[in-house]
Symmetry: C2
Subunit: 371 residues, 2 copies
């Protein structure tokens, strides 16, 4: 029996001496130092009990780790600790400037927190969402950040939504303060004297479309400004592109409706819309003012430079990441919603309407009220 035992329990001679080609492991270090792997692990991780080891031993261990260029195996550690230090980010499309900026903010925060992120874009296809989530869960992400995406169901890990309008149990929303944004933009146009304003609403699938639009209506109501439904159009196609704004404005012009200003859902469509105006022989801003939304990099390089509402996307990404990491591993109640402030950036695409407009003097009092 003893022999049998002996034959079973072979002498565990490591094939992987720390001097070899293979990367050093805790075990190879331990063997080399003639210590147990527990000792090495504790000292290297500076775990609570590691001060039970005398200075001398600790030095020895750390020196060996240095010498053999030991790097902990992330996968093994993940398995043991049941933590992957990975989160999933779900965006409509990586290459869109909007998402890319939020991603940059997320990266800023996550890397310094020791986390990494995986990205998937669902390409505006709703039926893909479930599969995307599954891929994330299969990878054992510890949390999820969605960007401008409506989740199809509850998620079993902490989730933060950047610009997801639907409030869901367990999800923290990081959003722009749309009411303030709408108010800023509309007051700007109103104060300039505009009364006939055309609007481009966002795509139906965009999670910002509804809240932004209702905020605009509220701001209009407070200003006593009437919104002519005939002057409201909506972007339709899936992927944002200036083309969409272009087409929408061309259609509007074809109907020969009179308006003095255009408020676009985002800069992308504002740029397309402006282009349509220019192509139709209208001058911006002398004939028609244009205001956008987002303040993308190219807004200030349009001709004329685009007036817009700035959305601090990068900061929203950071905030989302920070909130998520806070939520992971703390069972405390999490914030339901985090709103960030917009900023009105006045450039060249807005100006008082041409003097042919009649309503000019009418509402001066109302303007003062809003100051």
């Amino acid at each position: 029996m003893a022999e049998l035992m002996a034959s079973r329990k072979k002498p565990p001679v490591s094939k992987r001496r720390p001097s070899g080609k293979q990367p050093a492991t805790i075990r190879s270090l331990a063997e080399h130092l003639k210590l147990s792997s527990a000792a090495v692990s504790m000292v290297i991780n500076q775990t609570a009990k590691s001060d039970r080891f005398p200075e001398k031993t600790r030095k020895r261990i750390l020196a060996a780790a240095e010498k053999f260029n030991y790097r902990p195996n992330f996968v093994a550690r993940s398995l043991r600790k049941q933590q992957t230090f990975t989160i999933g980010v779900l965006v409509p499309e990586i290459s869109e400037g909007y998402a890319a900026l939020v991603l940059a903010g997320i990266e800023d925060y996550l890397l310094q927190a020791g986390y990494f992120f995986l990205v998937i874009s669902h390409r505006h296809k709703e039926h893909q969402l479930e599969q995307c989530l599954r891929l994330f869960m299969d990878r054992l992400v510890e949390g999820i950040i969605t960007v401008d995406t409506m989740l199809p169901r509850e998620i079993s890990v902490p989730t933060v939504a950047v610009s997801g309008h639907k409030r869901m149990a367990g999800v923290t929303n990081v959003v722009l303060d749309h009411r303030q944004a709408a108010s800023l933009a509309l007051r700007h146009l109103f104060q300039l004297g505009h009364r006939k304003i055309a609007f481009i609403k966002g795509q139906p699938f965009s999670t910002d479309t509804e809240s932004r639009w209702s905020s605009i209506r509220e701001a209009a109501r407070q200003l006593g400004l009437e919104i002519d439904p005939k002057l409201v159009t909506q972007l339709q196609a899936d992927s944002p592109s200036p083309e969409l704004g272009y087409d929408v404005v061309k259609a509007l012009l074809a109907e020969r409706r009179h308006f003095t200003a255009l408020f676009a859902f985002n800069d992308i469509s504002a740029i397309g819309g402006m282009r349509a105006l220019l192509d139709s022989g209208l001058k911006v801003p002398s004939d028609i003012s244009v205001i956008g939304f987002d303040d993308i990099q190219y807004a200030s390089y349009q001709n004329p430079r685009l007036t817009t509402i700035r959305q601090p996307l990068r900061h929203m990404g950071e905030l989302a990441a920070e909130t998520l990491i806070r939520r992971i591993g703390s069972k405390e109640p999490h914030p339901k919603i985090i709103a960030v402030a917009p900023e009105l950036v006045i450039r060249e695409s807005t100006a008082p309407p041409a003097s042919s407009s009649l309503e000019k003097q009418v509402d001066e009092a109302a303007v003062r009220d809003w100051r």
Copy 2:
């Protein structure tokens, strides 16, 4: 002795019945089915030996997996198989349109290949590169794709560089055919009649700067076109921004040098440069033609629309990913360089020079040579 054995080998009653709250594991399934975990693993993975199990058993196993919603633990599998199905992508800055487009292409390919990717941006800081690489290696990525980034050293995993000019051992480069690109652009300007052309070179750190510039000189030589060093400027700051192009052109104009066309390193600087021309009261293209490089989304929405050389960035990303996955796990010699073709996109920002230019008739013959 028997007793000792028994006491050591406790009955391995699982705490995790497949019906419980915990996710099902191979072991919990095996126990429930009264089979070994090996059997379950083999059948679920359809491993070579799985046909040793009769149809009946296989059905049972698969049914149980389905019923308990078994999902393989990715981390455990990675540890065991020593494969992470993860690659690292190193970019200058995630939010820059250039990188975002390449990333989108990479994602396209990788997801369908069962891989994920981690992104780090080095923010144009060379001293960060080493740390970025280390983070990747610590995460045990199976390969690395760099975008517009010069590696500081050789890497121990397969690597593909998108637009990295320095040829390094073991690295596959995916690049635009710069000679063709330069030739297309310059011939276009030349055929329009331009002889005095100003150039904006890229930032010193961009890996495309050198090859693009030398290709331009070569193309100029072949056309018999002289490049006036006084008309060559270089972008300086770290992060690309239209601002840089703006400043450079403003400086050029301040020196009162005469030129009829501007060839910018990329669309971003072309847009800034165009803005500077416009701000100085010059008309594009009637006074000065402008040609860019990349064909970013907003190029076609400039006023005037920007003529440019299109670079198929998304495709280059896909290609890079495909090449990398091919390289992983195959010891065959890999391609050293993969060149993709540029495309000249003629829009509104280029036109023949104002008739005041004198050289017009001189080189008609040379033009024909190049047809």
